[in-house]
């Protein structure tokens, strides 16, 4: 789906001479104004950009401060107010890396495993369900669809206790299964919804053509829908990555063995273990743990923004 969600500018109604005349006059006047008042215009624009940049810096400042503090020696963090560190000390990173039972990379790897499993699960299971809702006709489709939509808004807390009991009896606590298996079963209904919207935008003529060639649903799904749905898949992948990497609550509940901790849990253990003392290493590891998200953000900005925008528009 390319630009379907953005409404194009409506044409000026041709019969309304009055309006047309007024608009032309406006255009003419504004060119004049443009030439006469270029300086105040420029100044205003400059001022606005200045304001925006200042605002942007203010918004980002905590992150910048976090980064700069992570490379300062611990003791100077609170004495040296400046953002540019006067002394650079990378030992915070090495210290923080080895501060817990395992090197921090171990916990990052745990997070990576969970994220990978979630990615596979969401991409496959959600797109399959989305295909069914978007393209297949079956009894009760609208009811099931409504149920799927409502499940998006269900708080996880109402199911977490029984889930815990269930997984505990299956012996899955302290494995990654409770975190990954639900994704394989398309419980992230948000992505099902996202993909349904996308699939609906793909012209049915393609389906029909394929059908004429003798393709069954499986082939249509694999050969036509999925390749065309790359943007939606990319959006799903990116959001899954970010949400799973940051998912604290479920990981806190299902992973109690320190060996299995993921990055957010390990980080939190860090802060509790060292109290208020070693901010330097803690900041360093904070940076390390959010780095993957930041990278995904840098490279996937386009999809992120589009994805968010798409979900919000009527």
């Amino acid at each position: 789906m390319t630009e379907v969600h953005v409404r194009t500018e409506p044409q000026l109604p041709v019969h309304d001479d009055d309006l047309a005349a007024r608009t032309t006059a406006l255009a003419a006047r504004s060119t004049d104004r443009h030439q006469r008042s270029r300086w105040p215009q420029r100044l205003r624009s400059f001022g606005k950009h200045l304001g925006l940049v200042a605002l942007a810096v203010m918004m980002i400042y905590p992150l910048i401060w976090l980064l700069s503090s992570s490379i300062k020696p611990s003791e100077t963090i609170f004495r040296d107010v400046s953002t540019i560190p006067t002394q650079i000390d990378m030992s915070n990173y090495t210290e923080g890396w080895n501060a817990l039972l395992h090197p921090f990379g171990h916990y990052m790897m745990n997070s990576a495993i969970v994220v990978l499993g979630s990615l596979v699960g969401n991409l496959i299971a959600c797109s399959m369900a989305a295909y069914a809702f978007a393209r297949l006709e079956f009894r009760g489709r609208r009811v099931w669809f409504a149920i799927m939509l409502m499940s998006i808004m269900l708080p996880i807390h109402v199911v977490i206790v029984p889930q815990y009991v269930l997984f505990s009896q299956l012996g899955w606590i302290n494995t990654f299964l409770p975190l990954i298996v639900p994704k394989l079963l398309a419980t992230d209904a948000f992505f099902v919804f996202l993909m349904v919207q996308f699939f609906r935008g793909i012209p049915r003529e393609l389906d029909e053509a394929a059908r004429l060639d003798g393709c069954g649903h499986g082939r249509i799904y694999l050969r036509i829908m999925m390749p065309l749905a790359m943007p939606a898949l990319a959006t799903t992948a990116i959001f899954t990555f970010i949400w799973t990497w940051n998912d604290f609550f479920s990981q806190l509940i299902f992973l109690t063995n320190p060996d299995m901790y993921t990055a957010p849990i390990a980080l939190r253990t860090f802060i509790d273990a060292t109290g208020q003392s070693s901010w330097g290493p803690m900041f360093a590891m904070s940076i390390v743990s959010i780095l993957p998200i930041f990278l995904v953000f840098l490279f996937g900005q386009k999809y992120l923004v589009k994805g968010i925008a798409t979900t919000g528009i009527k």
């Binding site: 039972l101 495993i113 969970v114 990978l116 499993g117 596979v120 699960g121 496959i124 299971a125 399959m128 815990y164 505990s168 012996g171 606590i173 302290n174 494995t175 990654f176 299964l177 990954i180 298996v181 394989l184 059908r211 003798g214 393709c215 069954g216 649903h217 499986g218 082939r219 799904y221 694999l222 509940i253 299902f254 109690t256 063995n257 320190p258 060996d259 299995m260 253990t269 509790d272 273990a273 060292t274 109290g275 208020q276 003392s277």
Partner: protein
């Protein structure tokens, strides 16, 4: 058309199944993690089979380093046993433990505390240590008794310590305030001394750190007045007015500057010995367990002194008591109880282990070990040992073992203390609420 579709149908199914199987296989590989204790399997009987057990404890960095040394020594002597350390700070230890228990993932050797021992024993989480191969012949009978509930030995105390006031003589000297005579000083003297120090240093050095977040301090006051925190019937054994008095002293000190203001107190409290006022040389007195003296001295870098708590001679009787510092327990669900027992036995009875741990977990419970290591004690440990010895004549009895549910008192005390310090509850209101909540917790 239709025939084509039905022929393609199974293929779609096969494809789906294949994909899902691949994904599941991926997650099966992901099912990593140590196979430490918790899975209720048959215990191994072969003593030489490689075995991994997990040992949990709480503490500060000093303790963690010491403990790692002890573990290394144990592993040297028992090459087939690997000990996985599992440590956190005191504040989150029992939260984490209860979650682990709920997850079926209990450490094999658990460090326990008197407030929680009954709780966990009643839930069937702890093994009866008398059934395991642990030599308790050299351990004081009283100590063994302190870990015995209903004839079963659920935890062996690692040693004893005493809740006391840790003072920084240099801070006193700098402020020009005389060190109080700890055998005679009253609670009012304590408040005045603290205020005097703060006043003399203009607040640069506080007289004292707030004591109101830890209920053993109140237990002592209760005992001094012939009451007690818990009575033999497993109920609260004190009048709320007394508890209100205890908190009132804090408020008085806060108002006159003897202790920091409430926000600072909250932040400092979260930090343990290393971040305490005494530990950072910004305070002259603080209430700590005697076995934390070493950690405090290391952090502060100065010689510190242990004082009796105020009011020991103010009322009818003394209130201080020897507390089992902590207990070693073994999980009843451990798959390697023999290995766990070996570790506990080693920690309690091996003089080399004693030589490393010294008095970090209290004065060693095994009398032989205690005699052997006393001269190896660092200055601070010797100091603590001498202090404990000096109290032997004054300490008349010990408090009742806290009932099941007493563990919640820790959180209740902390929270109500914050309410009092911030003026959101009066001491009397807080005291009454304390009684109400603790009664509910232990019933």
């Amino acid at each position: 058309m239709r025939t084509h579709r039905t022929r393609r149908g199974p293929r779609a199914v096969g494809l789906t199944a294949g994909l899902l199987a691949a994904a599941l296989a991926l997650t099966a590989c992901a099912q990593g993690g140590a196979d430490t204790g918790g899975d209720a399997g048959t215990a191994t009987t072969d003593p030489d089979e490689p075995v991994t057990i997990r040992w949990s404890w709480w503490g500060s960095d000093t303790r963690h380093t010491l403990t790692q040394e002890v573990i290394d020594l144990f592993e040297e002597k028992n090459p087939n046993i690997t000990v996985v350390p599992d440590y956190t700070d005191w504040g989150s230890y029992f939260d984490k433990l209860s979650v682990s228990v709920a997850g079926g993932d209990v450490p094999d050797v658990i460090t326990q505390e008197e407030r929680y021992l009954a709780d966990y024993a009643s839930k069937g989480v702890l093994e009866d240590l008398s059934q395991l191969d642990i030599d308790t012949s050299k351990i004081d009978a009283n100590i063994l008794q302190s870990g015995t509930i209903d004839e079963a030995l659920y935890g062996i105390a690692t040693g004893v310590n005493v809740y006391s006031v840790v003072a920084d003589p240099q801070a006193f000297a700098d402020a020009g305030v005389e060190m109080p005579d700890d055998t005679t000083w009253t609670w009012e003297d304590y408040v005045e001394t603290a205020n005097a120090i703060s006043a003399a240093t203009g607040g640069a050095v506080y007289g004292a750190q707030d004591y109101g977040f830890n209920e053993p301090g109140f237990s002592i006051l209760a005992r001094q007045n012939g009451q007690s925190l818990y009575d033999e019937n497993g109920e609260v054994g004190f009048e709320p007015e007394l508890l209100a008095q205890w908190w009132q002293h804090s408020l008085d000190m806060q108002a006159s500057g003897g202790q920091p203001d409430a926000p600072k107190t909250i932040e400092v409290d979260a930090g343990g010995p290393e971040q305490s006022l005494v530990g950072t040389n910004t305070g002259a007195m603080a209430w700590f367990w005697s076995n934390q003296l070493t950690a405090l001295s290391n952090a502060s870098g100065r010689p510190l002194q242990l004082l009796r708590v105020p009011g020991e001679s103010q009322f009818d009787r003394t209130g201080m008591y020897f507390k089992p510092a902590m207990y070693y327990s073994v999980s009843s669900r451990s798959s390697h109880p023999e290995a766990a027992a070996k570790l506990v036995d080693f920690l309690l009875n091996d003089p080399e282990a004693g030589a490393i741990l010294l008095s970090d977990r209290g004065l060693p419970a095994n009398t032989d070990v205690r005699a052997a290591v006393t001269d190896k004690f660092a200055e601070t440990d010797k100091q603590a040992a001498e202090f404990l010895t000096s109290l032997e004549d004054e300490i008349v009895d010990g408090p009742v073992v806290p009932p099941a549910g007493a563990g919640q008192a820790t959180e209740i005390t902390k929270r109500l203390n914050a309410e009092v310090l911030f003026g959101r509850l009066t001491p009397q209101q807080a005291a009454e609420q304390f009684v109400q909540e603790v009664t509910a917790a232990i019933s």
